[in-house]
């Protein structure tokens, strides 16, 4: 059990042709004793590399990693008192389950055979694999192998657990099951854990805190709900939450957000928060959007739209809508990407042609997603009004992508960690 501290940790890879790739850029993290920290981000964001630096499987280009106050940069992996669960489990195929689990204790401790056997039995019991101890990994199912991999880490009783996407090779149902089990386990054992995943659901449900990385840079560290309700920038806002937050590109004219098809007046405190910035992005989560079939009940914060598709999920309906009159719905940062690739979203929007919007920007970009109660019923193709409640909006600076205003939460006390 230990505190882990990453101090401005940087990792630069040098390619064969001499070019440099910055995989991890100046990441600082402070992990408490017994905390379950999830490192999350899209593929290639540097989360695995960061984890591997903590493990000692990658060298650290710059910065320091400390375990309980001691700098471990130059300590070899085998001496770090760390246990790791690999994505592919990395079980030793020629050893039995018992052998796999005993190996770490045999190699890194001076314990006697009896003591080791006892611990292995204990951990195996905890993982529910006690009766599999004499089998070989090739005789086990994927789920069982995963438990062995976990058991192998637990039996070491390390200072820190490191987990590199341990659930991604399991099928959906098993994954959900293991998520809860892992959480329970971690609570029971109270070992500091760093968990890497690309799945934001796992991050949200499992972590005490989550650290979001993109392109090697730390975007935000906070509790799941903090990141959900108070995202620091566009990336975090768009990454956390499924279905993702909707973004509307707008201009700020004196406290009113203008898009060429609608106007959205801001409440005074929001208006002052965004004063001085002209290019903005308006964000609103799907669950906050209200659908109003009666077009006559429009108000300042309503936009007309057409329903594209309704996905009934049972407990809720996911409604995909298209805004009328070529409203620009885009992620400015993605628009940047498009521009690099040769597609021009903003131009098309200015042109106002539907074709341009669809064909160039891509379907998903011109769609607003709303989630509503499962009992409400709407038809495909139905014209409708959507209302964006002013207390639920997030506003971002379109150029710097920083969040200028996050939503108000009525019952702040009810949401811990905010």
């Amino acid at each position: 059990m230990a505190r882990a501290k990453l101090d401005e940790v940087t990792k630069i890879f040098t390619e064969d042709d001499g070019s440099e790739v910055v995989a991890v850029d100046d990441v600082t993290l402070d992990i408490d004793d017994g905390e379950f920290l999830v490192l999350v981000g899209p593929s290639g964001c540097g989360k695995s590399t960061t984890l591997r630096m903590v493990a000692g499987l990658e060298t650290i280009t710059d910065g320091e990693i400390r375990l309980d106050g001691t700098v471990i940069n130059d300590v070899p992996a085998k001496d770090r008192d760390i246990a790791m669960v690999f994505q592919s489990y990395a079980l030793y195929p020629h050893m039995s389950v018992r052998g796999n689990m005993s190996f770490g204790l045999e190699e890194s401790t001076n314990l006697g055979d009896d003591e080791i056997a006892k611990r292995v039995e204990e951990s195996a019991g905890m993982m529910g694999i006690g009766d599999l101890l004499d089998r070989k990994p090739s005789d086990l199912s994927g789920g069982q192998q995963q438990r062995v991999a976990l058991g192998r880490a637990i039996v070491r009783d390390p200072a820190v657990f490191l987990m590199d996407e341990p659930l991604s090779n399991l099928d959906a149902k098993l994954r959900a099951q293991m998520r809860t089990e892992l959480q329970r386990l971690q609570n029971e054992l109270d070992v500091t854990t760093i968990y890497v995943t690309h799945d934001q659901t796992e991050a949200m449900t499992m972590g005490d805190r989550i650290a979001i990385l993109d392109d090697g840079e730390l975007q935000q560290v906070g509790t799941p709900l903090e990141c959900y309700h108070r995202p620091k920038n566009l990336f975090v806002a768009g990454f956390i939450g499924d279905p993702p937050m909707n973004f509307l590109q707008v201009t700020n004219e004196d406290g009113t957000l203008i898009d060429h098809s609608f106007e959205y007046p801001l409440p005074p405190q929001v208006a002052s928060a965004v004063e001085g910035t002209d290019s903005l992005v308006l964000g609103v989560r799907p669950e906050d959007i209200e659908l109003e079939p009666d077009q006559s009940r429009a108000d300042d914060h309503t936009i007309s739209a057409t329903i594209d598709v309704v996905e009934p999920m049972g407990d809720e309906n996911v409604v995909y809508l298209r805004l009328a009159d070529g409203a620009t719905i885009a992620r400015p940062d993605l628009a940047e990407q498009d521009a690099a690739e040769g597609t021009h979203v903003n131009d098309a929007a200015v042109e106002g042609s539907d074709d341009a919007k669809e064909g160039i920007a891509g379907e998903s970009r011109s769609t607003i997603i709303a989630t509503i109660g499962g009992m409400q019923h709407f038809d495909d193709g139905q014209d409708i009004s959507i209302r964006i409640p002013p207390d639920a909006i997030h506003v971002f600076d379109a150029d710097s992508t920083e969040a200028l205003h996050n939503r108000t939460l009525q019952d702040a006390d009810a949401v811990p960690g905010i």
């Binding site: 890879f13 040098t14 890497v196």
Partner: protein, 324 residues
């Protein structure tokens, strides 16, 4: 998904987890040392082959003619005149003269044998792997065991056989034909038959390795489409076997070219018209020239030339053949 980072080339750390934690410089030094170890016999041989008798006496085996070691940079001292004096290509020319007919003979039986082996091997592997029938395992075991039979156990019967079936006599009609009337041809034919027969097991096994990886569903689909065994072989399996054919050619060519025991058995004397290159080289030592090391060295290179060329050009394929 874990992303695979590009390979670290940190010179201050061990090169990844996989290897021994040797410092990079020491590691390459070790590898180079091994290069010296593996090339030394040949390098020494080459240097010796271009030296005169005087040169052999005067200079160290692995040095160029007329050179000597010294304690000063560059640790080698030489005098151009002495070097030229002690260099000669006489031995290479002699070797070539002695061995050239052997090379021709070897080519004459190696190439047909290789081709036949490959064909037989491919067909046998097809019939045993891509068609399923009871008892296959036993037949397969016989093929595999056939690779490892010590040839000593068959050479006397072979001598008896070829003595008994006197090909020269029985195929007299063939030998009367214009291209085939040389004295050595019956023996060459014996060699072709022999090498083909003993090459079949390994070629079969090589092809089998590839056929085992072929999609069984693909074959089933073809059969459902109404193709017979021969059709499937000709139109599906054979075209897909081409990479393996090249592996087999390269490997088997080397094996047959380098072989010696059958040459000794069937040809007996290096004086014989049909003497293979290995036979001539091998029996070189029993003649007076036996004490002539530069000649031996030159002879070794001449005899090995084809296989060395094939190896350098097709190393990977050769390795594939060796590995199975």
């Amino acid at each position: 998904m874990t992303t695979a980072p590009p390979q670290e080339t940190d010179s201050t750390s061990s090169d990844g987890i996989r290897a021994l934690p040797l410092r990079t410089a020491g590691y390459y030094l070790l590898l180079l040392g091994l290069v010296v170890f593996y090339l030394l016999p040949m390098e020494t041989g080459f240097m010796t082959s271009i030296k005169t008798a005087v040169g052999v006496r005067e200079s160290l085996p692995f040095l160029l003619p007329g050179t000597d070691l010294s304690f000063q940079i560059p640790f080698v001292e030489f005098d151009v005149d002495t070097m030229l004096e002690q260099t000669t290509d006489e031995k290479w020319r002699d070797a070539y003269d002695t061995l050239s007919r052997g090379m021709v003979n070897s080519m004459l039986f190696t190439i047909p044998s290789t081709i036949l082996c490959a064909i037989f091997g491919s067909m046998a592997a097809y019939g045993l792997t891509l068609v399923k029938w009871r008892g296959q395992v036993f037949v397969l075991a016989l093929f595999i065991a056939g690779i490892f039979i010590p040839y000593q156990a068959v050479i006397i019967p072979l001598t008896e056989l070829y003595g008994f079936i006197d090909l020269q006599y029985r195929l007299g009609a063939i030998w009367a034909l214009p291209f085939l009337s040389e004295e050595r041809h019956p023996t060459i034919l014996e060699l072709i038959i022999t090498h083909t027969a003993y090459g079949i097991p390994i070629c079969t096994v090589l092809f089998r390795a590839q056929y085992q990886t072929m999609s069984w569903e693909m074959i089933e689909a073809a059969r459902l489409d109404g193709a017979g065994l021969w059709r499937i072989y000709r139109r599906i399996v054979l075209p897909l076997s081409i990479p393996m054919f090249s592996v087999v050619f390269i490997f088997q060519f080397t094996q047959i070219w380098n072989e010696f025991l059958f040459s000794v058995t069937l040809i007996r004397s290096s004086v014989d018209e049909a003497a293979s290159v290995t036979l001539i080289l091998g029996q070189l030592g029993q003649a007076i020239e036996g004490t002539d090391f530069p000649l031996r060295m030159a002879g070794a290179f001449v005899a090995a030339a084809p296989t060395i060329v094939v190896y350098i050009l097709f190393t990977d394929k050769f390795a594939e053949g060796v590995r199975v």
